[in-house]
């Protein structure tokens, strides 16, 4: 275990050093949700009371959705940098060291999760300035769930990147996967205001439960069943993506 943590920290440090050379990317990554917050938030203000959700504060409603969106979108693009690493021979050089394959993945995921944490704090801080109010414990738990979602998406993205080894394949695949998730998870508007058939479809979307869970914990409703379902789904997705990512990092290796 100590060796695993040591190897993970070496990979993490090497990755974070590269990120710190280009800190602008952290800000560029958070731009999309910030724009939603600033430009879409005011549109929600007069409507949020009609949603029948746990909070009638537009920003307490919107920020949890944007957090999950940040976790998904930001992390799903992590694989692109991995393709660059593969092309430069970095992955192969690491794979001929005795380091555990899982450490090579977890070191990278730790970087992605840290980056996501910084972005999440920026988003929540900005949301607070614009009027977000909620339970502090709930906000912390909401961010933790977001980090689990981000970790899952980053692991899946890394696995997809090492499988396809092509940005040209990655980009359309991510688009095809992300668009329905975005539209059917109630990130921007609650699915409860939609038609019955739309709600039934969204019942099959795990991210919907995650968004609902983050919204409820932000509003301080920890006992709601949505919190259990959302947290459960986040954990399941994280475990599945980790398994996939690790098996791809091990693949073909003797």
């Amino acid at each position: 275990m100590t060796t695993f943590l040591r190897e993970t920290s070496i990979v993490f440090r090497r990755q974070i050093r590269m990120n710190l050379r280009q800190p602008a990317w952290v800000l560029i990554g958070v731009m999309q949700p910030v724009l939603y917050l600033v430009l879409f938030g005011p549109l929600l203000k007069p409507l949020v009371g009609q949603f029948g959700t746990s909070s009638d504060n537009a920003y307490t409603f919107l920020v949890p959705g944007l957090l999950v969106q940040l976790g998904m979108f930001g992390a799903f693009f992590a694989g692109f940098s991995l393709i660059g690493e593969w092309r430069e021979g970095v992955i192969e050089a690491e794979r001929v060291t005795p380091a555990a394959r899982s450490a090579l993945l977890v070191g990278r995921l730790s970087r992605d999760v840290l980056q996501l944490l910084v972005q999440a704090l920026i988003l929540v801080g900005l949301g607070y300035l614009m009027g977000l109010r909620g339970s502090v414990g709930g906000i912390v738990l909401g961010i933790v769930i977001t980090l689990l979602v981000g970790g899952a998406c980053a692991a899946a993205s890394n696995a997809l990147a090492l499988t396809t080894k092509s940005e040209d394949v990655m980009a359309p695949v991510i688009n095809v996967v992300m668009m329905p998730i975005l539209l059917l998870s109630g990130i921007l508007l609650p699915m409860t205001i939609g038609a019955d058939w739309l709600q039934r479809i969204s019942d099959f979307m795990p991210f919907r439960y995650i968004v609902d869970a983050v919204r409820d914990v932000f509003a301080g409703e920890f006992g709601a069943s949505t919190v259990m379902w959302g947290t459960g789904w986040a954990l399941v997705l994280f475990a599945l993506a980790m398994w996939w990512g690790t098996s791809v990092f091990r693949k073909e290796t003797a």
Binding site: R13, R14, V90, A99, T253
Partner: protein, 338 residues
């Protein structure tokens, strides 16, 4: 002498195409390979011959589809971690982030082998000095020349003090001066450090200059394994080119050369033949010609190249095979993963 590499029936079969069009490609077709401690072995073959695929199996990046291999005394499948601890590997595509500091990359790489930071820094700096990378510790690979980058890759491969190092096409893409410089460093690995070196190359001169022994692979099969001198002597013979001044002398020279060779060719006043170990027979040939009254305008003895060896063994020139890519070229891609 203990064996550093021992492969028996090592095989790698990829599948190309989809569905019914799926067909097996035998990138490496059951090779046996032995490399002794301290040996420098050149693994020579055209693109697509199976060099990189063999190497990737030996360094544990690719699981063999059949056969076994032990490297540094460890089984490459069952004891892959121990193999990785014992070897250094320099891939042909590089090993570092182009935008990171070279020193940081080498130290982190060493630490992945379990070295302490202090030890990795000390040994990394020593390697930088030895590989003429002084002043490059805080330089990014993207700002280095091709030769410097390759030497940095070698430093990455040597940081944990392996006893065996694999170099995959170490000088591909380098200019002649950088190649010659890198050759010196590779030769130094064995001469001053007693390291075993296994290098793949499709450059004839590189194998000739560096390797104690040359293993030639073509279409996934090893077709020869010997010293460069023995390969040349046993397979092709030396080319003797006599230039005479008269037609009468051409006839005499042709007859005399014919007595020691089966392959005499005449081109104007030039009479040429392949002769085994020409150094030993040419003096008596000259005396013979002189006593027959043949005046030579010039004589040239050309030692065969490894390309001649390859041509004799496979019926193709190594250069032609390189250009054609070979039937299994797609199976010998650098990543070796299909």
């Amino acid at each position: 002498m203990p064996q550093m590499i021992e492969a028996r029936g090592l095989t790698q079969t990829f599948h190309t195409g989809q569905g019914k069009k799926k067909r097996p490609v035998h990138a490496v077709a059951g090779i046996d390979l032995d490399v002794a401690e301290g040996e420098v072995v050149g693994f020579l073959g055209p693109n697509g011959a199976g060099k990189t695929t063999t190497l990737r199996m030996l360094v544990t990046l690719l699981r063999p589809t059949a056969g076994t291999a032990t490297v540094a005394g460890f089984d490459t499948v069952k004891e892959s971690v121990q193999v990785r601890r014992s070897i250094g590997y320099c891939s042909q595509v590089g090993s570092t982030f182009s935008g990171a500091y070279a020193g940081d990359e080498v130290v982190d790489h060493g630490m992945l082998y379990g070295m302490s930071r202090k030890d990795a820094i000390a040994h990394g700096q020593e390697l930088f000095d030895r590989l003429q990378l002084e002043g490059m510790w805080r330089r990014m690979p993207k700002n280095m020349s091709g030769g410097q980058k390759r030497r940095l890759d070698i430093a990455m491969g040597l940081i944990h003090r392996p006893s065996l190092v694999f170099l995959d096409e170490p000088t591909t893409g380098l200019d002649p001066q950088a190649r010659a410089n890198l050759w010196d460093h590779i030769a130094d690995l064995r001469s001053t450090q007693g390291m075993t070196v296994f290098l793949t190359t499709h450059y004839l001169d590189e194998a000739d200059a560096l390797a104690d022994r040359i293993v030639i692979i073509d279409k996934g099969v090893i077709v020869a394994s010997d010293t460069a001198d023995n390969l040349k002597a046993n397979v092709s013979g030396d080319l003797v080119d006599l230039e005479v001044s008269t037609d009468e002398s051409v006839a005499v020279a042709r007859e005399r050369l014919g007595s020691i060779s089966d392959s005499v060719e005449v081109d104007g006043h030039h009479v040429r033949a392949r002769v085994a170990r020409a150094g030993k027979v040419v003096p008596s040939l000259l005396r013979d010609l002189e006593s027959s009254g043949v005046a030579l305008d010039s004589i040239e003895v050309i030692r065969p190249s490894l390309d001649d060896v390859f041509l004799t063994l496979t019926g193709r020139s190594l250069r032609d095979a390189d250009e054609a890519g070979g039937p299994s070229s797609d199976a010998d891609a650098p990543e070796g993963e299909k």
